[in-house]
């Protein structure tokens, strides 16, 4: 038996099995003088691992988002790195949408917007992608409107003055005038009927 194998406590720590992959960077390999110094089953396992590696390359899906999907399971940084490694020129509209949805689900919101813009440019006839680009676009100022009758300052002054009294309650106020209070939002809405279209502020006080 070669000297190097005598010094290692076991010939191989792994039992030979179907899922056994020999390490290609096995420390002991560099110390061996001859290829035949490896134990018999270790040599076999190395060849099996090479075959599996080749099979994995052959069976790799042609899906361009394959790497993106794998990165999405990790974190947003890995996702953005994978995103930058993809050539988006020939990607279909459906794949753009898939990538945008993935980006949103991992929290890569800037990347989602970028993809939506690029997708909308590349597929200008696709209504879905146009919608994604529209919804994820930066905020847009709108023309001035006639000032409404709402008085936020009056509401805030009331809330500051009455905080201790209504702590833990939901309150309904309109332009600084108290309307009602209840322990929960649902109870307050039930008491008021539907409060919309009346300019009533419903808010909890902590």
């Amino acid at each position: 038996m070669p000297a190097t194998l005598r010094t290692s406590p076991t010939k191989c720590v792994h039992p030979l099995g179907f899922r056994y992959n020999a390490s290609k960077t096995l420390d002991t390999r560099s110390k061996l003088r001859y290829r035949d110094d490896l134990p018999r089953y270790e040599k076999h396992a190395l060849s099996v691992s090479n075959v599996r590696w080749l099979q994995a390359i052959r069976r790799r899906p042609s899906d361009p988002l394959f790497r993106l999907e794998r990165a999405a399971r990790l974190n947003s940084t890995a996702f953005v790195n994978a995103l930058n490694s993809i050539h988006w020129k020939n990607v279909s509209a459906a794949d753009f949408i898939r990538a945008i949805r993935m980006a949103l689900s991992v929290g890569a919101h800037v990347a989602a917007r970028r993809l939506a813009m690029e997708g909308a440019d590349a597929h200008s006839n696709n209504t879905q992608l146009q919608k994604y680009a529209r919804v994820l676009a930066p905020p847009k100022p709108l023309p001035k409107r006639e000032r409404s009758n709402l008085q936020p300052k009056a509401n805030i002054e009331w809330l500051k003055a009455n905080r201790e009294r209504y702590k833990g309650q939901w309150v309904a106020i309109k332009n600084g005038v108290f309307i009602s209070s209840a322990p929960t939002y649902k109870a307050l809405v039930a008491e008021l009927g539907h409060p919309r279209d009346r300019g009533i502020l419903l808010t909890p006080i902590y």
Binding site: V135, P138, P139, P141, L142, R196, D197
Partner: protein, 159 residues
């Protein structure tokens, strides 16, 4: 008095009082609560420069009609602290000024996220809407005066 640059150009075109208060889940830390107007109705929203979108409370989402042509529905979204299912939608909101010397209101169209009411989400766990930075506050100027008794939120359009 509104804020101006050295050359006299306005930095802010409106300013509003805000509430600096504890909210559910914030422990003893306080949050800046500004008043916004959506469809003519007042709502309080937390200023959240670390977040994204206008994250709508179920109360705000209650009465807003969602146009399916401008909505991305059945999305999973990860925002700091949680992951939620819901709909993204464009929504016009108005930042209300105190009026008079405090300038005028500012209306803009932002992207709002409406959490799906069918997922396990207690109304009381999200009582306020959140004004996030991305897709919401990223295209207007703002400043905060935190001096006690003088709390004011300044805002103005980007050129």
């Amino acid at each position: 008095m509104l804020l101006n640059f050295n050359d006299g150009d306005p930095f802010a075109t409106g300013a509003a009082s805000y509430r600096y208060s504890q909210v559910a889940g914030s422990g003893d830390a306080s949050r800046i609560l500004v008043q916004i107007e959506v469809d003519g109705e007042p709502f309080e929203a937390i200023l959240d420069t670390g977040g994204g979108y206008l994250l709508c409370s179920p109360e705000l989402a209650d009465g807003v009609a969602i146009d399916p042509d401008n909505a991305l529905d059945d999305l999973w979204i990860r925002l700091p602290g949680f992951r939620m299912r819901g709909t993204l939608h464009r929504l016009p909101i108005t930042l209300k000024s105190d009026g008079g010397d405090w300038g005028e209101d500012y209306t803009l169209e932002v992207t709002a996220f409406f959490p799906d009411p069918n997922q396990p989400l207690d109304v009381d766990s999200l009582p306020y809407s959140y004004l996030g930075m991305h897709c919401c506050m990223e295209r207007f100027r703002f400043a905060v005066d935190p001096c006690p008794g003088e709390e004011r939120f300044y805002f103005g359009a980007c050129p």
